[in-house]
Symmetry: C2
Subunit: 212 residues, 2 copies
């Protein structure tokens, strides 16, 4: 597997492939043609064949793809078997929505702790996860092997919180703050930004299209 050969456009589509393949698998589907996968995903069959060939996809003429094998292959490429441990900073509405409703486990992440400053929350558990005061962050990270953090703190403290995480050796940040996080001397930290506005503006575009 030569991961470095996979283009960023294909990488962006991989989680969607995983989602569709996982659904098929859980519905008991054993094999799928590139045409059927294309129809359900709104892509073309040739694009699917091309994408999957990037990582040695297992399609066979006249048979299609073995759903479970392809699903596990995609999961492996996505690093879903790497046992990441994740904490969440900021247990406000969005943080709580993720803690209580998002399945970190399904993406291969183990959520072990939440941090906040709210005295009402600190010391409690949300969705089974203990909430600590943010002042405990450094000590917690010294004592626990955590490699990823979700950032759902207010924008006003996003940069300082991220700097603190990076100085403690965090490898990845899932950033919901809409604030550009400077990496400074921690160039190797991976940051995935979630911008809700980008998604809503895509909908806005689609709505304007129909009126052309």
């Amino acid at each position: 597997m030569k991961k470095d050969k996979i283009s960023s456009a294909v990488i962006r589509r991989l989680p969607r492939y995983y989602r569709y393949l996982n659904d098929l698998h859980h519905n008991g589907t054993v094999r799928v043609s590139s045409e059927a996968l294309a129809r359900s995903m709104g892509l073309t069959a040739s694009q699917i064949r091309q994408d999957l060939s990037c990582f040695g996809g297992f399609g066979q003429q006249g048979y299609g793809y073995n759903v479970d094998r392809l699903r596990r292959e995609v999961a492996d490429i996505l690093g879903m078997n790497n046992r990441h441990t994740i904490i969440i900073l900021g247990a406000g509405n969005l943080g709580r929505a993720l803690i209580e409703n998002f399945s970190f486990r399904s993406s291969g992440f183990r959520l072990t702790a939440a941090f906040d400053v709210d005295p009402v929350l600190v010391g409690t558990r949300l969705g089974g996860v203990p909430v600590y005061h943010i002042d405990m962050l450094r000590d917690y990270l010294k004592e626990h092997a955590v490699n990823v953090a979700v950032l759902t703190v207010p924008a006003s403290v996003a940069k300082e919180t991220a700097a603190s995480l990076m100085s403690c050796g965090i490898e990845g940040i899932w950033n919901f703050t809409n604030v550009e996080l400077p990496r400074d001397e921690h160039e190797d930290v991976k940051i995935e930004n979630v911008h809700f506005a980008d998604s809503l503006l895509t909908l806005s575009y689609m709505l304007s299209e129909e009126k052309v």
Copy 2:
């Protein structure tokens, strides 16, 4: 402007262009070269020139782009001046996070009402927005010109809620439920799905990359 000539890959990048151009504008930047824009966005200058040329970008040799003109042009293509009116269904943690912290107005949407079943919430206001019982939805939509809805209800009621919205003439749904929404006879309804897992899996991929 021939919108139908713009590829879906370019469309997906448009909100990001808007975000960067808007930041530049608010920082007082009057013009920007494709090289500088490329550096800050992590794209190549030639990709930017190619993208922007799709909608008659205003770059000039030796001058670059007029930030405000390009920003307004992108906003227009994205339909940000179309005065969409939006309601939100489901005022749980995620719904509340959007109501209280997301600026619908900055994306050209006016949020006018929230709907929920929780008796503690119904009749109150969240972030200045009135919360009605979901049973009031049809009447509300009859009396108000609403064209878009945010779906942050539990997955178990996602399909029925979406069907109800569509039968009331809603044109677009911003769907956070992770449930595939069938359009049935409402094929023209635009749906933008937000899948948090896709984003987290992208981070997972980036984390596995560095270990190759």
